[in-house]
């Protein structure tokens, strides 16, 4: 076994003899400090493990926010040939289509700051969150089925938002290929009353202000300017997506047994693309993607309602327009140049964001001249970013970049070293209003439990995977 070595300012290679059985090398996009952080836990081993899977093309990749996950590392990207490759539910993760939505406002920090605490309280009372909380939408089976097929489009039809919202959502608000018949009864049961809930853990809703614009033309195209207030929503497919993943891990475990495949980690179970099990999973996964997009659509709708109530004005007059909505846990069929020829591949992004350049067919029309917006949530107390996709990402990373700061400290260590109430006080001193369902749990999400998000996005920029358009500073945080 030989170790990883540096191949550029922002890239490290994990050679195939790092672990016998790797079909392709691994590449980690990182500077020295982030690479060293990735080497401290089992993340590099996980990059190597992904390279064992059948039909992997190019390299097994990791973004700079890489950390130890289960199966794939968090920050892992891998593409599999459509005829010889596989799809792996563990390569998407349990929170299928966990993602980010950014809502713009026509308000400035000065207009929001004086009543910020009350605004956050209004949002808190309007947005269901935390463990064991029921959602406000009591969906019937038939409504849920439509949501699973049509995603945000169905929600807009039900009155949760406007037509323009879906044009500014990844895949036009509907993930294609969804088939509710491929979803278990149990997933329906878990999904029934969780639609329109924020959840707990690292999910949040944040009121932010654009602190700095780096690229004028792109910022203008995205409708961003310095001093403008924005709202970021980070949530996923809740219990519904988790059940889909759990169900298909067991189904694919049987596939792997039947085929007699040896895997370095059972969480990497998978099925050959084109097989019934793979098709079924992709159709169920698409349902979970639509559930997640619909979930964020409902959360955004109540955010607008909260602003309307608070400012006593219509959301349109307050300029509450969506900038974009994207998923960072997903697998999808895409065309990419591999070894000089165009190939159709199943790209798995687990804790990684699509980063498509100007002119790419999947970039919404409004942004086709500048490229796809990439939304990067930071941690409480530091910044979030809006980036833009690049041509280099298409060549180097199957059109992918980072998804966030990435954890560096375990939850139990964070709880031991940081006290929730003190953290809340510290953030308040920085001018950040924090409303948390459980203040004790806040410690697990403390800024020091995460890598420096600015370093992560700088490395992405250095490696050419995305470019910085704007930096957002938190003003108010709502946590589960």
């Amino acid at each position: 076994m030989s170790g990883a070595f540096r191949i550029g300012d922002f890239a490290w290679e994990i050679p195939t003899d790092y672990k016998p059985g790797m079909r392709v090398p691994g590449v980690v996009f990182a500077d020295e400090e982030l690479f060293e952080a990735a080497s401290r836990d089992k993340a590099l081993d996980q990059v190597a493990n992904v390279a064992f899977l059948q039909g992997i093309v190019g390299k097994s990749l990791a973004m700079p926010d890489i950390h130890w996950g289960y199966g794939f590392p968090i920050g892992g990207v891998a593409a599999f040939d459509e005829s010889s490759g596989v799809v792996s539910p563990g390569g998407v993760g349990f929170d299928i289509s966990c993602g980010v939505r950014l809502l713009k406002t026509g308000l400035t920090e000065d207009e929001v700051r004086p009543g910020l605490r009350d605004l956050m309280a209004t949002l808190a009372s309007n947005i269901p969150r935390g463990l064991g909380t029921r959602g406000r939408i009591h969906s019937t089976q038939s409504m849920l089925r439509k949501v699973l097929v049509r995603g945000a489009r169905e929600m807009v039809g039900l009155g949760y938002g406007r037509e323009e919202d879906i044009e500014h959502t990844e895949r036009g608000g509907t993930y294609p290929g969804a088939d509710p018949a491929r979803v278990s009864e149990r997933a329906f049961e878990r999904g029934a009353d969780q639609l329109g809930t924020l959840g707990s853990g690292n999910h949040f809703l944040e009121v932010q202000v654009v602190e700095k614009v780096f690229m004028e033309k792109e910022a203008r195209a995205f409708g961003l300017h310095e001093g403008q207030v924005t709202v970021m929503i980070h949530s996923g497919s809740r219990g519904f997506g988790h059940q889909v993943c759990t169900d298909y891990l067991q189904i694919m475990d049987r596939v792997v047994n039947r085929l007699g495949w040896e895997l370095p980690d059972r969480q990497l179970v998978c099925a050959p693309l084109g097989s019934r099990e793979a098709d079924d999973y992709l159709a169920a996964m698409a349902c979970a993607c639509n559930y997640a997009i619909a979930n964020r659509q409902a959360l955004m709708h109540w955010t607008r309602e909260s602003f309307e109530r608070f400012f006593n004005a219509s959301e349109r007059s307050l300029g509450l327009d969506i900038l974009f909505d994207l998923s960072h846990n997903v697998a999808r069929m895409e065309d990419h140049q591999v070894d000089g020829r165009k190939r159709r591949v199943c790209v798995h992004r687990k804790g990684a964001t699509a980063s498509f350049p100007a002119g790419h067919p999947d970039v919404p029309a409004a942004y086709s001249e500048v490229g796809q917006p990439v939304l990067i949530p930071g941690d409480m107390g530091t910044h979030s970013y809006v980036l833009v996709g690049t041509e280099t990402a298409m060549k180097e990373s199957f059109g992918s970049t980072c998804h966030g700061a990435g954890r560096t400290m375990s939850r139990s260590k964070a709880k031991k070293t940081i006290r929730g109430p003190e953290l809340k006080e510290r953030l308040e001193r920085q001018g950040i209003v924090v409303l948390a369902g459980n203040v004790k749990l806040l410690a697990e999400e403390a800024p020091e439990a995460y890598k420096d998000v600015s370093r992560v996005v700088d490395v992405c920029q250095g490696a050419g995977l995305s470019s910085k358009v704007a930096m957002l500073r938190p003003m108010g945080v709502l946590k589960g």
Partner: protein
């Protein structure tokens, strides 16, 4: 039965040791719920029968813990008592007890969303049994 938690950068895990396989499965469930909630505040006022089939012990542990997570997520239950009647490598029969989640009364600590296959171990060690499970939180 003894258990301790395992440090994981993003998530959390447990290691459990027990004298019998039945005690091991009951212990893993108890360990998982003790991460989620302060068990002292949970009463055994209602029960559910659980019967599972799997391909091997690891698959069975995966299915068992995810079955209990389903009861939390879909039926809003917190569980405190796990009576595992029998476990073989392919089958488990148990009765679990607890009550409906009441956020006002129950001190909910951490939402465990799934048990993963990642590095999962269920094996005989010395005179007893050992299990390791990493959760998605």
């Amino acid at each position: 039965m003894r258990f301790n938690t395992i440090e994981h950068t993003a998530d959390i895990g447990i290691e459990v040791e027990a004298e019998s396989l039945e005690e091991l499965f009951a212990g893993a469930a108890r360990a998982m719920f003790s991460i989620m909630v302060d068990l002292d505040g949970v009463s055994a006022v209602l029960s559910r029968d659980v019967s599972l089939d799997a391909s091997d012990l690891v698959d069975l542990m995966f299915e068992w813990l995810n079955e209990l997570i389903f009861l939390v997520s879909a039926n809003r239950l917190v569980l405190c008592d796990f009576e595992v009647g029998s476990v073989s490598s392919e089958r488990l029969v148990a009765t679990v007890r607890g009550e409906e989640i009441d956020p006002a009364r129950h001190s909910l600590e951490l939402e465990i969303k799934a048990a993963t296959f990642h590095e999962m171990v269920v094996e005989e060690r010395g005179e007893g049994w050992y299990a390791r499970v990493i959760f998605d939180v």
